[in-house]
């Protein structure tokens, strides 16, 4: 009875299918246990069962859950309602979706405390403001007056933590709380969570698919696969000496190996050449002065956080959004700005693969139809010739030819993404633009897609524009990397150039924010010094977009003048006043 939370023989069924089978673990008071696994591993189902909750269509079929002295699974509906949000609270994956869009933040944050009779409304609001402050939220006194759509994802995630902690719960369940966030935001949110949970002295369950994040948060780790426990041990042991084969697979996929072959010899004429490109949605400028080249058979990785203009760049190249200035040259010839002015041949040679294969593929069509469509459109292939080519393409993406008859609705996420890729390959393009193609996939499946992309490149001599928010993924596949921040190209260079110390301060922040696969990393990341206030810019100066967040800024220069482009000792080109970017020794 000395463990705070005790789970024994937990079984959850959906209809007749067992989705969680015979799961048991225990957590000592005040410790953090991580549940880790891929999608479909049952980690969220187990976390919810700790509150006696099963989603529509599922039911808890057996086992016991004890929190403190309470046998959770024997409680009736009223007993469960009294437990949830009071003694046990939950932080959901997507705070943006989990806040009610039509009610003010404060109403929702104080609701558990008021509803469970812990505090009256006034005291609850005072406590909420205290929590907002300790979670480092801006304007703690007034932020509660806002509606969810007026706040950013990172802020909402922290507000949800305040909502979970307001009753002083003894057990907090965090379900992938940072997965939807940018990496630079994630580090701040993780730090805030860790501090808040520790201050409360609460026991916590941390659900995640990301081993590196878990390494920062957990005292113990439970590795799940297909609803069963594969490994259960102290965090350091699981991370350093994994006993189970499956855990080792997860570890390997967490940091993808370099999958790309070396870049081809630079040919005289680049395949794609973009000069001085600007683009805007209506009057809102999105991209400013983008310059890039992609050689035949080479891969350019484009990296940046959400809203940095990565996808817009692909849309402009594809012709879906005509640029407001600048030129795009493809294989030596100018590319018309808009779709209606491009020829079918120009369409064929540049193909776009979207992030979400679930929505990009028509679930009512079978695989053969989906791949056959571009074959007929671009190459006029019909009948037996088309069937043969579909089989070839399926072979190319390493799927069985028998899949051609299947509707794509029933395929797995990884299979769908391969079909999505095959549809682009069917056109026989020279350039494929991949927009976050691995982001919606599990790490193991995503790593396999990266390998496939590298194989295809070697076999077919394809060039890629590879867009991602994840520096690890981009490093694994790209020859050159371009970093976008708020629509400006802050750094460009060879992949190797990013290993050096001299880099743009934003690149430095981006790389430095990726959690490492070892406990204690988070604590080593000292708080970045708060940057000094920004003065008035000199008339007409186009200031560095990163200035408000930059801790390397040069007083009297950065806030007055347009930053120049420099070549760093590592060979990269950066847009910064400091010639050596974020490295000591520069003036």
């Amino acid at each position: 009875m000395n463990n705070h939370v005790e789970v024994r023989g937990l079984c959850v069924k959906a209809g007749t299918t067992t989705i969680v089978e015979d799961v048991g673990f225990s957590i000592p008071r005040g410790e953090v246990l991580a549940l880790i696994g891929e999608s479909g591993s049952g980690k969220t189902t187990i976390a919810m069962a700790l509150m006696g909750y099963a989603r529509l269509g599922c039911r808890i079929a057996g086992g016991s859950v004890r929190v403190g002295d309470t046998d959770v699974l024997s409680l009736d509906e009223d007993g469960l309602a009294a437990l949830r949000g009071d003694r046990v609270s939950y932080i959901a994956q997507s705070a943006a979706a989990s806040f009610n869009p039509s009610r003010r933040i404060m109403d929702q944050v104080v609701e558990p405390a008021v509803n469970h009779g812990r505090l009256d409304r006034k005291a609850a609001e005072a406590k909420a403001v205290t929590l907002f402050r300790s979670l480092a939220l801006p304007n703690p006194e007034s932020i509660g007056e806002r509606y969810p759509h007026q706040l950013s994802g990172g802020q909402l995630q922290r507000l949800m933590a305040a909502m979970a902690l307001i009753t002083g719960p003894e057990l907090v369940i965090l379900d992938e709380p940072t997965t939807a966030l940018d990496v630079t935001t994630q580090i701040e949110v993780l730090r805030a969570f860790k501090q808040a949970v520790r201050d409360q002295g609460a026991t916590a369950v941390y659900v995640s698919h990301d081993l590196a994040v878990v390494a920062q948060m957990a005292d113990a780790i439970v590795v799940l696969n297909k609803g069963r426990i594969r490994e259960n041990g102290a965090a350091a042991q699981v991370l350093e000496r994994p006993a189970d084969e499956y855990t080792r697979t997860l570890m390997a996929a967490a940091r993808p190996e370099r999958a790309a072959v070396d870049a081809p010899k630079a040919t005289a004429a680049p395949l794609l050449e973009i000069k001085g490109l600007n683009a805007a949605y209506g009057t809102t400028p999105i991209l400013r002065d983008i310059n890039l080249t992609i050689a035949r058979g080479a891969t350019l990785g484009v990296i940046g956080e959400s809203g940095s203009g990565k996808s817009t760049l692909a849309r402009v190249i594809a012709g879906m959004l005509p640029p407001s200035a600048g030129s795009i040259r493809f294989d030596g010839a100018g590319l018309p700005p808009s779709l209606s002015m491009r020829s079918r041949e120009q369409f064929r040679r540049i193909q776009l693969v979207f992030q979400n294969a679930d929505t990009a593929l028509n679930p009512a069509h079978c695989v053969g139809e989906i791949i056959g469509r571009p074959l007929a459109f671009y190459h006029g292939l019909k009948g037996a010739a088309a069937t043969r080519r579909v089989a070839e393409l399926l072979d190319l993406i390493k799927l069985p030819a028998s899949l051609a008859e299947r509707p794509c609705g029933g395929l797995s996420g990884g299979q769908k993404q391969r079909i999505n890729l095959a549809r682009a390959l069917a056109a026989k393009p020279d350039l494929i633009m991949c927009d976050e193609v691995t982001s919606a996939l599990d790490t193991v499946v995503g790593a396999a897609i990266l390998d496939l992309l590298a194989d295809l490149k070697r076999e077919l001599g394809l060039a890629y524009l590879f867009i991602s928010h994840d520096i690890g993924t981009v490093r694994a596949i790209a020859d050159d990397i371009m970093v976008l921040y708020a629509g400006t190209q802050v750094e460009t260079g060879r992949r190797q150039g990013y290993h050096g110390v001299a880099r743009h301060p934003y690149t430095d922040l981006l790389i430095g924010s990726v959690p490492e696969l070892r406990p204690g990393w988070l604590e080593e990341q000292g708080d970045r010094p708060a940057p000094p206030a920004i003065g008035q810019p000199k008339d007409g100066a186009d200031l560095c977009r990163f200035l408000p967040r930059c801790s390397w800024r040069v007083g009297g220069t950065c806030e007055e003048f347009t930053p120049p482009r420099h070549r760093t000792p590592g060979g990269n080109i950066i847009l910064c006043h400091r010639p050596e970017g974020a490295s000591e020794g520069a003036s």
Binding site: M48, M51, Y53, R55, E77, D78, L80, A81, A82, L83, R84, G85, D86, S89, Y90, A92, S94, A97, S98, F99, N100, P101, S102, R103, R104, E111, P112, N115, H116, P138, N139, S142, I143, E145, R146, Y147, H149, Q150, L151, S152, Q155, M163
Partner: protein
Amino acid sequence: MAGPATRGLLATALPLIGKRVASGLLTLLLVSMVVFFIAQLLPGDMAQELLGQAATADAVAALREKFGLDRPAPERYLRWLVGMVTGDPGYSLVANMAVSDVIAARLPNSLLLAALSALVSVPVALTIGILSAMHRDARLDRGLNVATLSMVALPEFLVATLAVLVFSVQLRWLPSIALIPADASPWLVLRSLAMPILTLSVIVIAQMARMTRAAIIQQLSQPYVEMALLKGIKPARVVLTHVLPNAIGPIVNAMALSLSYLLGGAIIVETIFNYPGLASLMVNAVTSRDMPLLQACAMIFCTAYLLLVLIADTVAILANPRLRNR
């Protein structure tokens, strides 16, 4: 992000609502053109109708001049439009009195019936819809589904006739016709109107309940509902305080469509119960070629419909913080 806190609700909602009002007025203007010019397409005019087939061409021409029917159509349209706006929709030669007087005798009846029917049907429909959605696929939901489906499927003349058979002929509780004396007590009014209200409600309750159920079920699958349940809020409270504010937009829009039926669609009910309402007046105007009356009725129905939609839009704007402040 950290801009000024929520601005005054009216200051931000008013321009949006103003836009809706303006587009409503524009719609009304277009409808008035259509109504007027379609009435012109019908063969024969008032002068011919009055004088009958034996009339000489001279007599018809003289009468036309007297009524201004010889003027060009756009001019007559403008004159009619100004009349409508200033509350004088013309003179009904069939009834031999001002159209406004004819309508004044009927409109209050129609409004009373529609208002009472709405008063009965809206709460019942909301309750059925919410209960049904909360117990989705359970016995209660399936029972209510069968009930609302059969209500939609039953023709209203059948409902009305059955109601008369049961309540008037068999049980002798209620009068079978809804003629209300001028000095009737409120109780008598209610008794007389009970069956018309029942019949109209049966039709619209079913439509509104099904739309309510669909709107709430759509919201129930949202993550914020699960979050509210995991905060320990009881399901009934979750629906009332979390789901309804988000579902109210689609619900009031569906209700506006259904309720607009209570005014113009009441023709069968008015006929069966012999109730002097606006819908039967309009049908009479068609059969007797009473163009000024017909046009005025059409404009009233259209205005009522647009008003309902405007109310629905306003409620939706006020319920949605993303629309009323950004």
